[in-house]
C-alpha cells in the first residue's frame, strides 16, 4: 500500500458534518488495520531479534539417529556366525539380507525414515544423511571362474507426501556417507517427508549374504515461509 492522501480536508472555521471526520479518519484506519507495507516502513526498521516472533520466518524438524532396526539385522552366513564374540581377529557382519523382511527379493523401495513438519506456504528443504556399509565379497566376478555374484548396491529416495522429489544414484562403495538434499515449493499444512531405500533384485546369491547395513541417518526438513 503506498502513501495515501486523505480525501477530506477540513478547513479552519468550517462547519462540517461529523461524518466527514469518519471519512477522513477511515483513510488512516484502513492503512493501520492491515494495510501497512514496504512503502510505509523505512529501510532497516525491523530488528528480527526483537520484532519477529519465534518461527515467524521458518520452521524445521529432524528425525535423528536412524539405523537399520535390529529386528532386520541378520547375520551374514559367511562372515557372521563362525567368529566368537571376543575374537579380536574377525567380526560378525549383520545387516539386510535377501529372503527376509523388508528386502525379500529386493528391487523395491521401502521406507526407512520419516518426519512430519507443519508448514506455511513457501519452500521446503529436505535433506538425508546416512552412513552405509556393503560387504563387498562376491560383488565382483573373479576372472574365469563361476564365482557367485551378488549385486550389492543401494539407492535412496526422498518423498514428500508420497511424491518422489529426489532419487540418488546407485551406490556401491564398501563404506559411504550419503548426503543428499533438495528444495521444493510447499503449501500450508502438515507435510510428511519420507526416505526410502532400494536394494537391487536378487541375482543368484543365497539368503544368508548381507547386502547392506545402514546407520547414523538424519532426516532434515526446513520450511522457509513465503
Amino acid at each position: 500500500m503506498p502513501y495515501r492522501w486523505t480525501k477530506e480536508e477540513i478547513e479552519d472555521k468550517q462547519i462540517v458534518q461529523s461524518r466527514q471526520f469518519d471519512i477522513a479518519y477511515s483513510n488512516y484506519v484502513s492503512v493501520i488495520n492491515g494495510g501497512i507495507d514496504r512503502d510505509n516502513l523505512p529501510e532497516q526498521c525491523i530488528d528480527p531479534e526483537v520484532n519477529v516472533i519465534p518461527n515467524g520466518l521458518g520452521r524445521s524438524n529432524t528425525s535423528n539417529n536412524v539405523h537399520n532396526p535390529f529386528a532386520n539385522n541378520n547375520q551374514d552366513s559367511n562372515y557372521g556366525a563362525p567368529f566368537s564374540s571376543t575374537n579380536t581377529r574377525g567380526n560378525r557382519i549383520t545387516g539386510l539380507t535377501y529372503g527376509e523382511a523388508p528386502v525379500q527379493e529386493g528391487d523395491n523401495f521401502y521406507q526407512v525414515a520419516s518426519v512430519n513438519i507443519d508448514c506455511e506456504e513457501g519452500m521446503l528443504e529436505c535433506a538425508w544423511k546416512c552412513n552405509a556399509y556393503i560387504p563387498l565379497y562376491n560383488a565382483y566376478y573373479k576372472a574365469f571362474t563361476t564365482t557367485t555374484l551378488t549385486r550389492k548396491r543401494y539407492q535412496w529416495q526422498i518423498r514428500v507426501n508420497g511424491i518422489i522429489v529426489y532419487e540418488s544414484p546407485a551406490i556401491c562403495e564398501a563404506f559411504f556417507t550419503t548426503n543428499i538434499s533438495t528444495q521444493i515449493p510447499i503449501s500450508k499444512g502438515t507435510q510428511r517427508v519420507e526416505v526410502h531405500l532400494k536394494i537391487p533384485g536378487r541375482s543368484n546369491e543365497d539368503n544368508g549374504m548381507v547386502i547392506m547395513q545402514y546407520w547414523g541417518g538424519q532426516v532434515f526438513a526446513y520450511n522457509t515461509f513465503r
Binding site: 461529523s18 461524518r19 471526520f21 479518519y25 484506519v29 493501520i32 488495520n33 492491515g34 507495507d37 514496504r38 516502513l41 523505512p42 529501510e43 532497516q44 526498521c45 525491523i46 528480527p48 531479534e49 519477529v52 516472533i53 519465534p54 520466518l57 520452521r59 524445521s60 539417529n65 539405523h67 535390529f70 539385522n73 547375520q75 562372515y79 557372521g80 563362525p82 571376543t86 579380536t88 581377529r89 574377525g90 567380526n91 557382519i93 549383520t94 545387516g95 544423511k129 552412513n131 560387504p135 563387498l136 565379497y137 565382483y140 573373479k142 562403495e173 564398501a174 563404506f175 559411504f176 556417507t177 548426503n179 538434499s181 547395513q213 547414523g216 541417518g217 532434515f220 526446513y222 513465503r226
Partner: protein
C-alpha cells in the same frame, strides 16, 4: 497491537464535541507505537526493511587450503594415525595449507563464530533456544597408508577363499574380515571459551546444544562408561548418536588379484614402500567425502549457551560388528562398530618362538583439503 477502532459519527451525524475527535486522534496516534502482523499487510515488506538477515544469525567457513599435485605427499600434519600401533583414539583435523599442524582459529577445520568482526572472531553466538545449527563439511582423502609396508602383512592380503570362514587349513584362520573398516570424521562444538582450545571442544549434548538427546553422542575413545577400543567395547548404533558421524572407506575390493593384492586400494597413485603405480593396489584418485549435521537447539530454559566454534575430528580404523550376546552395550542382537586396537602382524611370535599373530589393521589416513561451513539460523525450531 490489534486493530484501531474509532468512534463513528455516522449515522447519527449529530453535533459532536472536541473530546470525541481528540479521542479518535489519540487512538490513531497511540497505534503507531505498537504495529505488528495485524497492521502490516501479508507479504507487505521486503528484506530491505530488516536491519539484519531475518534467517541467519551467523555463518563462517574455514578451508584448510592444502592443494597438491598428484604424485606428491601431504605434509606431516595432514597424516592422521590409527589407534592400533599409534594409540590415538581421536584427534582434531588441524592442518593448514602447507600440511603443517595449526591449531589457531580459522585454520585447519577450527571455525570461529560468529566470525563477524574478522574471520577469526570467536566471541560466540548466544543461543537461547529455537536456533538451528547446520554444519557441512568435506575432505579430500589423499592416501591410505598401511602401517606395515610389507604387503604380506596387509590385512587384505589375508583374504582368500580359505580365510573367509576361518576353516581348517586356512592360511590365516580367523583372519581379518573383508574390509569392514573405515575412518570416522565428525564435528565437535565449543561452548566454553573464545580461546578455542582443543580441550574445550566436545559433543553437542555435552556442550549443552542438544541436552534432550535421548542417548549420548558417540565420541570415539571417550564415550561414557566405555573406552571404545577393541571388539569387546563396540558401540551400538542405537545406544549412542551416530548421525553426526561421516565414514571414510579405506579400500575398494577387487577379486581380480587375490594372489598378490586383493583389496586394500590406495587412493593415490604414489605408493609407499612399494610401487603402487604398477600395482593392482592403485585404483582411483583422491576422493572427496562430504557430510552434514543439523542441531535444533531446544528451549534452554533461561540458561543460554554461547557457541564459540566448531571443529572436525577424526578416528580410525573402525570396524563393523554384530553382537549376539555378551559383548558391547545393551542387549543382543544388535549391531555397531569398534575401534581396532590390534595391528596386522600374522607372523608375530613370542620370545619362545610361539606364534601370536595379530589380525587387526593400522595405518594413516592422509587428507589434502578440508572445508567446513557452519551456519546458525534464527528461530526455526517450530
Amino acid at each position: 497491537m490489534g486493530n484501531v477502532k474509532l468512534e463513528r459519527f455516522y449515522p447519527k451525524n449529530e453535533a459532536i464535541t472536541a473530546a470525541k475527535i481528540n479521542n479518535n486522534s489519540s487512538a490513531l496516534e497511540g497505534s503507531t507505537a505498537g504495529y505488528n502482523q495485524e497492521n502490516v499487510s501479508r507479504e507487505g515488506i521486503d528484506f530491505r526493511q530488516f536491519d539484519k538477515s531475518p534467517m541467519l544469525i551467523a555463518r563462517n567457513v574455514v578451508d584448510s587450503g592444502q592443494e597438491l599435485t598428484t604424485g606428491t605427499t601431504v605434509g606431516t600434519g595432514a597424516r592422521y594415525k590409527s589407534y592400533a600401533t599409534y594409540n590415538i583414539a581421536q584427534q582434531p583435523i588441524a592442518h593448514n595449507s602447507t600440511g603443517a599442524t595449526d591449531t589457531s582459529a580459522g585454520n585447519g577445520t577450527k571455525v570461529p563464530l560468529p566470525g563477524v568482526s574478522s574471520s577469526v572472531d570467536a566471541s560466540g553466538v548466544q543461543l537461547t533456544g529455537g536456533e538451528l545449527i547446520r554444519v557441512n563439511w568435506s575432505t579430500v582423502i589423499w592416501q591410505n597408508i598401511p602401517a606395515n609396508g610389507s604387503l604380506a602383512d596387509h590385512v587384505t592380503a589375508l583374504i582368500d577363499t580359505t580365510t573367509k570362514d576361518g576353516g581348517t587349513g586356512a592360511t590365516h584362520p580367523y583372519g581379518s574380515g573383508i574390509g569392514e573398516w573405515c575412518w570416522l570424521i565428525w564435528p565437535r562444538f565449543n561452548t566454553t571459551s573464545a580461546s578455542l582450545l582443543n580441550s574445550d571442544f566436545t559433543d553437542a549434548k555435552t556442550a549443552g546444544l542438544d541436552p534432550n538427546s535421548p542417548v549420548p553422542y558417540f565420541e570415539p575413545g571417550i564415550s561414557p562408561s566405555i573406552t571404545n577400543t577393541g571388539i569387546g567395547d563396540f558401540v551400538d548404533f542405537n545406544e549412542r548418536r551416530w548421525d553426526h558421524i561421516m565414514v571414510v572407506p579405506s579400500m575398494f575390493l577387487s577379486a581380480a588379484n587375490v594372489s598378490n593384492g586383493p583389496a586394500l586400494q590406495l587412493y593415490h597413485t604414489n605408493g609407499v614402500g612399494y610401487s603402487a603405480r604398477s600395482s593392482p593396489l592403485a585404483l582411483g584418485g583422491p576422493q572427496l567425502r562430504s557430510s552434514s549435521f543439523y542441531i535444533r537447539v531446544p528451549d534452554l530454559g533461561g540458561s543460554p549457551k554461547t557457541l564459540h566454534g566448531v571443529q572436525l575430528y577424526i578416528s580410525g580404523y573402525w570396524r563393523m560388528h554384530g553382537n549376539s550376546a555378551g559383548t558391547g552395550m545393551g542387549g543382543a542382537p544388535d549391531a555397531g562398530m569398534f575401534l581396532e586396537n590390534d595391528p596386522c602382524n600374522p607372523s608375530r611370535v613370542n620370545s619362545g618362538g610361539d606364534p601370536i599373530p595379530q589380525y587387526g589393521v593400522a595405518g594413516e589416513l592422509h587428507i589434502e583439503r578440508t572445508h567446513i561451513n557452519v551456519t546458525v539460523h534464527r528461530d526455526s525450531n517450530g
